[in-house]
Structure formats: structure tokens, C-alpha cells
């Protein structure tokens, strides 16, 4: 039985189809879900994709976080289902209080697009178990509001409890506190990050590597991790 990973499309989602494609390349079955529905269609895991839901009105991800389907997403997250928020999806997860802190305009006011080096800080999450802690990966980054912030107490807690999943390496592209690129919740099933692993899953279309141009597929590990996490939950 193949693992079914749902990708929720919101008004203004851009990378939902890319996420579906990445899931298929990783060997799972992508399931297209709709923000206005209350039906998760029996999926085993969920991806909240990147884009500019509701034109980033109010705050990035804020209006999408109020979508009908987010009630079911919250219930599923509380029940331990693997949930990944990519870029705008990460912004939705913090707006929905599934992850702590917030994301603001990049410190330099620029929209950034680059192949970004990351360090996997926590390799025991539902979306990182295919990596080892300390692994360096390269994944495309493209955002205008990716500056991670939290108050001092929250920052101390997430660092102390190992909730930083990914950190920017080489350059901090957006002014994120402590170079934080992605977070995981206490339970380890909900992960959010600004960079786009779904854009590094197919040779010829990924970031450059030392071996060849556009050959980077480090993003596949995210989806392989979720498949392993789903198998572990079923066992």
C-alpha cells in the first residue's frame, strides 16, 4: 500500500503541483486537497505548499490559516500525522500556532532567490529522519517574508528543546534570529521551513552540486522521511 500524502491548495498557492510531483518522485502517492473542504481524504501525511495565499494580505499565511480545512489539519497534527509547511505553508503553521514564533519581511527588504545551504539540526522528526544531525543539504530558497522571529523566552525554549530543525549555513538570507530556517514541534511531526525541498527532487531541475549543474536532489529526503514516519506509525 502506498503512502498517501495530501497537498492542500489555497487561493494563491504556487508550488502545490511541484509538491505533488516531488511526492510522486519520492515514491508516495500525492493527493490534491482543497482549502475550502473539511475532508483530508484519508491521507497519511500533509504538505502545506508555498506561494502567496490571499496575496499575502493581512500577514503572510494569516488568512489561509483561517481556512475551513485548517480545523482538520490542526486535529491531524494533534493526532501525530506528519505535517510539512513549506515557505507560505510554514507561515500558515506559525499563524495557526502549530509552530512558535513568527515570520516578517526580510531584513534587507529584498525578495531572495538562491540555492541555500542548510544544516539539518534535528534528524529525529517525521520529515528529517532520512538525514543525520549535522548533515549539510542544498535546497532552493525564494521568499520575501522569511525573517524568523520569536521573543527571547520562546527562542530559549526552542533552542533548549531542540526544536530548530534547520539552520541557514554560509549566509543568513533574511535576518532570521539564530539563523533559523525551519522548526519542528515538540512531538516531532509538524515541521515548517522557508526553503523549498520540493524544488530539489529531480536531477536536471534542482540546485547545482559539485557533481553536475542542477543535479541536487536533497529534497527527496524530506518525503522519504515522511514515508518512513508513516510506516512507523502503522507498525
Amino acid at each position: 500500500m502506498s503512502v498517501r500524502i495530501g497537498v492542500i491548495t489555497f487561493p494563491g498557492s504556487l508550488d502545490d503541483r511541484d509538491a505533488q510531483r516531488a511526492i510522486r518522485l519520492a515514491g508516495a502517492e500525492p493527493v490534491a486537497l482543497w482549502h475550502g473542504s473539511h475532508d483530508l481524504e484519508d491521507v497519511d501525511a500533509l504538505v502545506l505548499p508555498g506561494g502567496f495565499s490571499y496575496g499575502d494580505y493581512l500577514r503572510s499565511g494569516a488568512i489561509a490559516a483561517l481556512s475551513p480545512i485548517m480545523a482538520e489539519v490542526k486535529d491531524a497534527a494533534a493526532a501525530g500525522m506528519p505535517v510539512l509547511g513549506i515557505c507560505n505553508g510554514f507561515q500558515m503553521l506559525v499563524e495557526a500556532h502549530l509552530l512558535p514564533g513568527g515570520l516578517i519581511r526580510n531584513a534587507n527588504q529584498q525578495f531572495i532567490r538562491r540555492d541555500q545551504r542548510l544544516r539539518v539540526e534535528n534528524a529525529s522528526t517525521a520529515w528529517t529522519n532520512a538525514f543525520r544531525a549535522g548533515d549539510e543539504i542544498v535546497v532552493p530558497l525564494k521568499n520575501g517574508e522569511g525573517g524568523y522571529i520569536a521573543d527571547g523566552e520562546t527562542l530559549k525554549r526552542i533552542e533548549g528543546e531542540g526544536l530548530v530543525a534547520f539552520r541557514y549555513l554560509g549566509i543568513n538570507p533574511n535576518g532570521s534570529l539564530n539563523d533559523i530556517a525551519g522548526l519542528v514541534n515538540e512531538r516531532g511531526n509538524v515541521v515548517g521551513l522557508m526553503p523549498h525541498p520540493e524544488h530539489a527532487t529531480e536531477p536536471g531541475f534542482g540546485p547545482d552540486t559539485a557533481a553536475a549543474m542542477r543535479s541536487g536532489t536533497d529534497g527527496l529526503g524530506f518525503f522519504a522521511s515522511a514515508m518512513a514516519a508513516v510506516a512507523a506509525l502503522a507498525a
Binding site: 493581512l58 500577514r59 494569516a62 483561517l66 506559525v94 499563524e95 512558535p100 514564533g101 513568527g102 516578517i104 519581511r105 526580510n106 531584513a107 534587507n108 527588504q109 525573517g147 522571529i149 520569536a150 521573543d151 535576518g175
Partner: protein
């Protein structure tokens, strides 16, 4: 019709990149009387009928829970204008 005006500002201790960019532009134009600029949001909620305590209380909740994000912003004012 009565309108409830909600003002939201980024938290004082956080970087406000938009405000900083405007302050930079003012400085370049020689506007040296203004040292900092911070940019917030104003929401106008039009009410059908009377603004009673219940409506105002609900507006306050919406301001805290939806119109602002307490992690990055503060609601700095709620007032009723006719």
C-alpha cells in the same frame, strides 16, 4: 454608520524593515528632523447598528486574534468613530 478603528503596530523591539527603508529615504532627502519611522496598520470595521459593549468586546477579540499576531505586533488602539 459607526466604525470601529483598530490600530496595529509592529512590536517596538522588533526590526521594522519597511519603516527603516522609509527612514533611509527621508534621510537621503535631507529630512533630518525625523530619526525613525515605524509603519503599522489601521483597520476600519463598519458596524450595522449600535456599537454596544458586546460588539466592542468582539472587535477587541478579533483585533487580538485575527487582525494582529501577538508574536510580532501589538494592538495599540481601538476606538469608535461615527
Amino acid at each position: 454608520m459607526p466604525t470601529i478603528v483598530v490600530d496595529v503596530m509592529p512590536k517596538a523591539e522588533l526590526l521594522d524593515p519597511q519603516g527603516k527603508a522609509v527612514a533611509g529615504a527621508l534621510a537621503r532627502r535631507g529630512e533630518d528632523a525625523f530619526s525613525t519611522v515605524r509603519i503599522g496598520k489601521r483597520f476600519e470595521l463598519t458596524v450595522d447598528g449600535e456599537v454596544d459593549d458586546a460588539v466592542l468586546a468582539r472587535a477587541r477579540e478579533i483585533a487580538e486574534e485575527i487582525l494582529s499576531n501577538a508574536v510580532i505586533e501589538d494592538v495599540v488602539g481601538i476606538e469608535v468613530v461615527e
